[in-house]
Amino acid sequence: MGYVIELEVYQGPFDLLLDLIAQNEVDIWDIPIASITQQYLDYLYSLQEKDLAITGEFLVMAATLIRIKSRLLLPQETAEDEDDEELEDPRTQLVEQLLRYKFFKEAAVFLDQRYQEASKCFTRGQRAASFDLKPVFTAPMGDLTLLELGELYHQLRAELEKEEPVHRITSQISLQERLALVRLQLVGQPRATFSDLIRDHSPREIIVTFLAILELVHMGEIALIQRKALGEIHIEPLELEVEVRA
């Protein structure tokens, strides 16, 4: 025969048969079953030669084709003795299946085109979380303040630094020492600035100083004043009388 079938990937036996019919340019209602069957089997052999798995569906179809072929070869009078349904062209049912599959195969091509076209249209990229410009958000952050968030972050960083194994015996600054130091620096001063207090400090010392300042705020000994965002933080010692009376 010398007919070479490319080793295409077919979705199934219907797909393969439709391709063979198309390649042979024959009328689907009058399939030359003998030659198509041979080409079908050749394809399966070529798969086998390439060690490619042949699924059961392809083998079932091979059997069907051979059965149809043999039935077509039977003399007409024998066929007339058979049941009514056998009077029909044995190819008819197969052709109907093929046409039905062909329809959906074409519909799939249509869908694929629509899929690609539709994917060119982009929906809104962000969730519409922010249609309300008013800054009244009770949820989702509750009453968390920005300063609390900042303090929390620095506490976490400070804890991380503390947890680091200290191999160097450089000055280990304790919070208590730093607390005392900050108190000392504030004695007799109306105020100090944060940058004064951390001058020449290592990052680790800054953390501990910062924590000491937070601690002093917590104890009500000092107040922190920042006039503008990113501005200098002023530290003012508070009168402790109130504390004493309470």
Binding site: L99, V109, L111, E117
Partner: protein, 171 residues
């Protein structure tokens, strides 16, 4: 609410909604007739005409999307590809479900001539199809149908938009 106000509200609703909105949903919110909503949507379409956006009707629901010709630019934003390409097997299976719904796995496999479990599972994972019930009879097999997402992904207004050519040849 007059028509111009309704137009602004409907535009905002379609924009802000996380999913495409039907005429009925819009009509209920703005308390207007569905036909009035439809004509307002047409007005929004005209209003959008000179810009980047368009109102798309997917499965009878409205959605704002960018015009397709802008896709080369928008792809530069590196938005992850949400819809990985479908395999041929999945697209064929989807076509059968779209036309024949509700349909069982066995019916799909009869038409395709091959096992279609993995195609069905992949379509279920992508939420393009869903189980819509059980067929009466032995084994009560699962019936599949397409989802709203199917219409959105394929930019189809309704199943009427599926091509009919050749359908009479076998139906």
């Amino acid at each position: 609410m007059n028509l111009s106000e309704a137009q602004i509200v409907i535009e905002g609703l379609i924009f802000a909604s996380e999913r495409p909105l039907s005429v009925q949903e819009l009509a209920e919110i703005v308390e207007l007739d569905p036909s009035a909503v439809e004509s307002i949507v047409e007005r929004i379409r005209e209003y959008y005409a000179p810009g980047a956006l368009l109102i798309r009707n997917v499965g009878g629901r409205y959605q704002v999307v960018t015009k397709p010709e802008l896709s080369p630019w928008i792809e530069k934003l590196g938005r992850p590809v949400v819809h990985a390409p479908l395999t041929v097997a999945s697209t064929e299976t989807l076509a059968i479900i779209a036309y024949q719904e509700p349909v069982t796995r066995a019916e799909i496999e009869t038409i395709r001539g091959v096992r279609s479990d993995s195609a069905i599972n992949s379509l279920l994972d992508r939420e393009l199809i869903c189980e819509v019930g059980r067929k009466a009879g032995p084994g009560r097999p699962i019936l599949y149908g397409v989802t709203e997402k199917f219409y959105a992904h394929f930019g189809l207004t309704s199943s009427d938009e599926l091509p009919l050519t050749g359908i009479s040849e076998w139906k």
